[in-house]
Each structure stands twice: as structure tokens, then as C-alpha cells.
């Protein structure tokens, strides 16, 4: 990462801290998350950018996935270029990661065609762990738990850590800012 990118990133962080406080800035800028908005939207929030994806199954063996990369509208050009480059080389359809993910998806689909013989797909990685790791399959299980509840009405027991978000209330930004300022002083 070049000096001007580091400087621009540090400046944006300082602005965010001034506006939202350190605790919330940590959650915004220094926390990675892979968030499923049930049923078909994902927010993949990593340090080098936020990828939004929608998944629309159009046939039993076909899904259309659309990806967007979010970035601050007022970011300086070098920072924009850096984020675009990162997103491209990682998330792009010709990046160093996505072609292999697509291959994984297609091989899974191939496996699912043997549904009559094998009725289970193992997504138990990291199940029951106190804190899931980045490569655990918690979000897949969370998706299917919700799906199961929608289809059968039966609520499955939840899994995974619960995060203390009490500092976020009251809900309006200004009020949150005041709360954060008070807690810091």
C-alpha cells in the first residue's frame, strides 16, 4: 500500500472517529463480516472494501449472481483506484478468487444432482464453536435454519456468538454520537 493510500485511509478513519466515536468506528472499519440478508443478499464487508451480492435462482440448475462494490463517493481518486483494483483482482469474474469459487459452486451443483442417492450436504464446519472463524460455515447454516423456519414453521435453535450492541441505542446517529462522546469522556 502506497504512502498516499495509507494517509488517505488514516484521514478517513480519523474523520469517522470524530463523527461516530472509537467504539462504533471499530465496528464500522475494523470489523470484518459476512452478512446474509435472508433470503438472497450478501454483504461481505472486509478491510479492503464492501462487496454486495444478490443471488437469484432462475432455474433448478442456474443462478444469477450480481455483485457491486461500495465505496465512499467523496473518496480521493488514488483511494478509489486502490479499492477498484482490490475488488477487481479478488471479487471480479477474472480475479484470483472468484473463478475458483464459481468452480466450487458448479461442482457442488454436480454433486446435488445425486440427491436420490445422497440426501445430505455436510455444512458442519465450525458448528458449535464459541467463535466462528472466517472459514466456518455458520452463515450457510444460518441461511438454512431460516429457510427451514419459513418452510416448516419450526424454529431451529440458534448458533454462534451474540454481540453486545447496547451502546448503539438510542438509534438516531446524533443521539448515538452523544452517547459515545459521553462514554469516552
Amino acid at each position: 500500500m502506497s504512502e498516499d493510500i495509507l494517509a488517505a485511509t488514516a484521514q478517513r478513519r480519523a474523520e469517522t472517529v470524530a463523527r461516530w466515536g472509537e467504539a462504533h468506528t471499530m465496528r464500522m472499519l475494523n470489523t470484518t463480516r459476512n452478512l446474509i440478508l435472508f433470503p438472497n443478499m450478501a454483504l461481505i464487508d472486509l478491510n479492503f472494501g464492501i462487496q454486495v451480492r444478490t443471488m437469484y435462482p432462475t432455474a433448478p440448475d442456474r443462478t444469477e449472481i450480481t455483485g457491486w462494490q461500495l465505496m465512499p463517493k467523496d473518496a480521493p481518486d488514488p483511494l478509489k483506484a486502490y479499492r477498484i483494483d482490490n475488488a477487481l483482482t479478488f471479487w471480479g469474474p477474472a480475479g484470483l478468487a472468484t473463478p475458483d469459487d464459481v468452480e466450487g459452486l458448479e461442482q457442488c451443483q454436480r454433486g446435488f444432482s445425486s440427491l436420490n442417492e445422497v440426501q445430505w450436504s455436510d455444512i458442519s464446519r465450525g458448528m458449535g464453536a464459541e467463535r466462528p472463524t472466517a472459514v466456518d460455515e455458520l452463515q450457510m447454516r444460518s441461511f438454512w435454519r431460516q429457510w427451514n423456519e419459513c418452510i416448516t414453521g419450526e424454529k431451529a435453535s440458534p448458533e454462534g456468538p451474540r454481540y453486545d450492541t447496547s451502546y448503539l441505542t438510542p438509534a438516531t446517529p446524533d443521539a448515538a454520537l452523544q452517547t459515545t462522546s459521553r462514554s469516552r469522556s
Partner: protein
């Protein structure tokens, strides 16, 4: 081999020999040797097909590799964890309509060519169709590629939604 001194006298046949050799290295999966055909300040670019002339630094494209990323791409493609290409696909490149567009100050050649690249794997055959824009330069080891732009004619990346090989 073509020497720097003779770059201004290079003919289309010389360029064709170079491009056919380069295509053969890719089809034979000799990726390190292929990488040696690029300059250290090279760019390998596949723009968005509907906006091939946008600035790749400021808009989304499909590939925009400088030398370090191109090296990573080659390293990656040789790894067993590159699932899309392990075992690697068979490819066959057809190059036609090769033209030298411009000799720039006897230092660079602007070259264009049409391509059809077939990729066959797991019973699926995919064709990539488009046009190259190459900037070639001379070195003591012969011609090198300074800029490679592969402009696809596709409007969607069906049927498999990815580009896992080098175009």
C-alpha cells in the same frame, strides 16, 4: 530473433511468428515462459466489453494486471488450489487478422489481431471471441509485450460466468 535495432523493419510475418509462439506457450500451459515475453512495466488488460476505452484505474474491468499481479496470476494458475484450473483445461487459440497499426519512433509497435480461444473442461466447451491490442517493444532477447489488451465481444460471460484462463 528480432533485435532492437531492427524494430522499424519488422514485418507482419515477424509479428505473426511472435504471436503464434506466445499463443502456443499458453496452450501448452508453459506459463512461466509466457511471462518472460512481457516487459517489467507491462499491463495485461481485459476491459469491460461495452466500455473498452474507459480508464481501467477508475472503472471496473475484467482484468487490469500490472507485472506483480500478472506474476501472481501465473503462480496461482499452477497451484492445485486453483480449483477452476486444476487439472487445467485444454485451450486452443486461433489468431487471425494480424495488422501492424503503427511504428512509434522505432521503439514500439502497435499491433492488433483477432482471436478465438476455445476452453474445454469437464465436457463443457466455451469460446472467447475478441480482438487484441498489443504494444510490442524490442529487447536484447527479442520482442516483448508492454501492453496487452484483450477486448471481448461478449455481452455476458455465459455459460460459466468466469475467466479462469489467460486470454
Amino acid at each position: 530473433m528480432t533485435r532492437a535495432a531492427s524494430l522499424s523493419e519488422i514485418t507482419r510475418a515477424d509479428v505473426e511468428d511472435f504471436l503464434y509462439h506466445e499463443a502456443a506457450l499458453l496452450d501448452e500451459w508453459r506459463l512461466e515462459e509466457w511471462l518472460d515475453l512481457f516487459t517489467l512495466d507491462c499491463v495485461y488488460e481485459i476491459p469491460a466489453p461495452d466500455r473498452p476505452d474507459e480508464d481501467p484505474a477508475m472503472t471496473f474491468s475484467l482484468i487490469h494486471d500490472h507485472r506483480p499481479m500478472l506474476e501472481q496470476r501465473v503462480i496461482r494458475l499452477k497451484k492445485p488450489t486453483a480449483h477452476a484450473e486444476f487439472p487445467h483445461s485444454r485451450t486452443r487459440r486461433l489468431l487471425t487478422n494480424v495488422r501492424i497499426l503503427e511504428h512509434r519512433q522505432h521503439e514500439e509497435l502497435s499491433v492488433t489481431a483477432n482471436f478465438a480461444v476455445y476452453r474445454i473442461r469437464n465436457g463443457v466447451e466455451v469460446t472467447y471471441v475478441g480482438r487484441y491490442e498489443h504494444t510490442l517493444t524490442a529487447s536484447p532477447d527479442g520482442m516483448k509485450i508492454r501492453h496487452r489488451k484483450a477486448i471481448l465481444d461478449h455481452d455476458v460471460l455465459d455459460p460459466h460466468g468466469k475467466i479462469s484462463i489467460i486470454l
